[in-house]
């Protein structure tokens, strides 16, 4: 039966190893994130038909584009995919409008100019139809590239690091434009990015890739709060990752006790972890609450941890504090708080303080065999 959306399963050993599968529903934006060389762009090129995986399947809007078992592999021009390249790859000898019209082979010639004007207006480029790419700024070129990708009325929109070639201010503006544009699109959108913030800002779900393998698939904020493994946490550049052993579960109280060095911690209930199992656990910055000096604080008895300030970095209105918490592996605990709060509580290198680690936010995960 015709399945709406995009369905991808890819496997390959060379030249870039791939082993992943994902689906993107119509109107949904899925981000493929991961370090350089993780295989994100290759996966995207496989969807567009610019690269052929050894094995796998690509189906879009009920149509089979690639099926290694059935021996089917449609060439790129027969796959209704709009692709925005990292460097835009505009046709340098054509004007903005001609760039779009070149992608409108499916429309009668008479209808193309009007449709090109309409699409360019939609990406805020009205009046620049007759400019060549070299006469446009980086941000304008990116908008032409997005409009050209939409010009063939694609069944899926593919974005390959579309914001990496512009400055920060332009990037933010383009990202918010894209967020607006996608509300009017009812096709699946696949975004490849190495920029986690970009995925957070735009994606409904994200897939974290490493060496061609999908390590986790989840909504962005969920992945940040509950990474599937320490490897995921490291790739997401999450701080406050420690090791512990599962002591016991307390289903009635909805918590799991962890033995962390000399300390006993209460963490969110994680019944899938066996008592005695070595685990990694994560305390997101938001889970660290500083105890006020001399006055009792709310939640003071929740996982109190004493530490000594190693470093305090003022970052604008915030202070980033690094605590030595006598972790057996020597890892430090890092959190941020308003600068004035840090000053009022006398936080400075060498000072001692106590923090609470909020039970519900402590996330324990199984150790991966290295």
């Amino acid at each position: 039966m015709a399945e709406p959306g995009l369905e991808v399963a890819l496997a390959a050993r060379t030249p870039i190893p791939l082993d992943l599968s994902f689906r993107v529903a119509p109107g949904e934006l899925l981000a493929l994130v991961g370090p350089s060389g993780a295989g994100k762009s290759t996966a995207l090129r496989c969807v567009a038909g610019l690269h052929r995986a050894e094995r796998g399947r690509v189906r879009c809007a009920g149509e089979c584009w690639f099926d290694s078992e059935g021996g089917r592999n449609l060439p790129p021009h027969r796959r209704a995919a709009g692709l925005v390249f990292q460097d835009y790859a505009l046709f340098p000898h054509m004007t903005a409008a001609q760039n779009l019209m070149a992608a409108m082979g499916h429309l009668p010639p008479g209808a193309r100019a009007g449709r090109a004007r309409e699409l360019l207006a939609r990406v805020h480029l009205a009046g620049l139809e007759d400019r060549r790419p070299a006469e446009l700024s980086g941000g304008q070129q990116q908008r032409v590239a997005v409009a050209r990708a939409l010009a063939r009325d694609p069944a899926v929109l593919l974005l390959d690091e579309p914001f990496s070639a512009v400055d920060r201010a332009t990037r933010r503006r383009l990202q918010s434009e894209l967020a607006g544009l996608r509300r009017s699109l009812s096709i699946p959108i696949l975004l490849v990015t190495h920029d986690l913030d970009e995925a957070l800002a735009l994606a409904d779900r994200m897939v974290l890739l490493h060496r061609g393998r999908a390590l986790q698939e989840a909504p962005p904020f969920e992945m940040l709060a509950r990474p599937a493994s320490a490897e995921v946490a490291r790739l997401l550049d999450l701080r406050n990752l420690f090791r512990a052993r599962v002591e016991a579960h307390d289903a009635a109280a909805g918590l799991t006790r962890l033995r962390w060095g000399e300390r006993l911690l209460e963490a969110a209930h994680a019944p899938h972890l066996a008592p005695g199992e070595e685990v990694d656990w994560l305390a997101p910055g938001a889970a660290v609450v500083l105890h006020r000096r001399g006055r009792p604080s709310v939640g003071e008895r929740e996982n109190p941890v004493e530490g000594r300030v190693v470093e305090m970095l003022p970052l604008g209105d915030e202070a980033q504090v690094t605590l030595d918490v006598a972790d057996p592996d020597g890892h430090t605990l890092r959190f941020s708080l308003p600068l004035h709060a840090a000053r009022r509580n006398g936080l400075a290198p060498g000072a001692c303080c106590t923090v609470s680690l909020l039970r519900e936010a402590i996330h324990a995960m199984p150790r991966r065999a290295a």
């Binding site: 610019l50 021009h77 460097d87 790859a89 340098p92 082979g105 070299a134």
Partner: protein, 224 residues
């Protein structure tokens, strides 16, 4: 001024272009985009006329045109006369010796098109022939024009190979370059001087026009 020889040279130049340009666009594009075993040797073969003495190229062409060679025999059977010392033979030789002048600029022009731009054509829904027509040829155009001008100018000036395979038959194989040599041998310095000046002027004009043209196209691409 020997107009017969001059016109013969022009005719040879135009005929060479007609045969060679489609071949070079095809071969230059294949060499620019395809990876296949033996590619290095094909490129070497194309460049060979640049480094071999014209007499050596001419000698092998003469052998290939000979009545006992398969090509010479076939030609004799089809057209009733041999290839050596004929205009057709000269044209054949001209195509061979001009290969590097035609293929290399075309190959470089195709290779200079960013791969992503060609891929963008494909993901914009263009079938390969349309990508060639709408994207590749317009972008490679300055290189193709350069190849054509170089080929034409080089054909007018080719001497050694022409002498070897064509001899010097007025109206049939005596090109302007040969006619100049002929005039010098006959101590007719005036005629040799005039013809040399014409050849010089044509070459300077051709090269000047190509350079101006490709620079203008380059500027258009850069800033519109």
């Amino acid at each position: 001024m020997d107009w017969t020889a001059f016109l013969l040279s022009v005719e040879l130049g135009l005929a060479t272009l007609t045969l060679l340009m489609p071949l070079s666009v095809w071969l230059g594009r294949v060499l620019a985009y395809r990876r296949f075993p033996g590619r290095g040797f094909v490129e070497a073969g194309v460049a060979l006329p640049l480094v071999l003495p014209p007499t050596v190229v001419g000698f092998y062409l003469l052998v290939a045109f000979g009545a006992h060679s398969p090509l010479g025999e076939l030609w004799q059977r089809l057209f009733g006369h041999g290839l050596a010392f004929s205009f057709e033979g000269l044209l054949f030789a001209s195509v061979i010796v001009n290969l590097p002048f035609a293929v290399q600029p075309v190959q470089n022009a195709f290779a200079a098109i960013p791969p992503r731009v060609r891929e963008a054509g494909a993901v914009s829904g263009m079938p390969p022939w349309r990508v060639l027509w709408r994207i590749e040829l317009p972008l490679a155009w300055p290189g193709i024009a350069t190849a054509a001008v170089l080929t034409f100018a080089h054909t007018l000036g080719e001497f050694g190979v022409v002498l070897m395979v064509g001899g010097s038959i007025p109206g049939e194989t005596q090109t302007i370059a040969i006619a100049i040599y002929d005039r010098v041998q006959a101590f007719d310095d005036r005629a040799a001087g005039v013809m040399s000046a014409v050849l010089l002027a044509v070459s300077v004009l051709a090269l000047g026009l190509t350079n101006t043209f490709s620079r203008r196209v380059g500027r258009q691409r850069a800033d519109g």
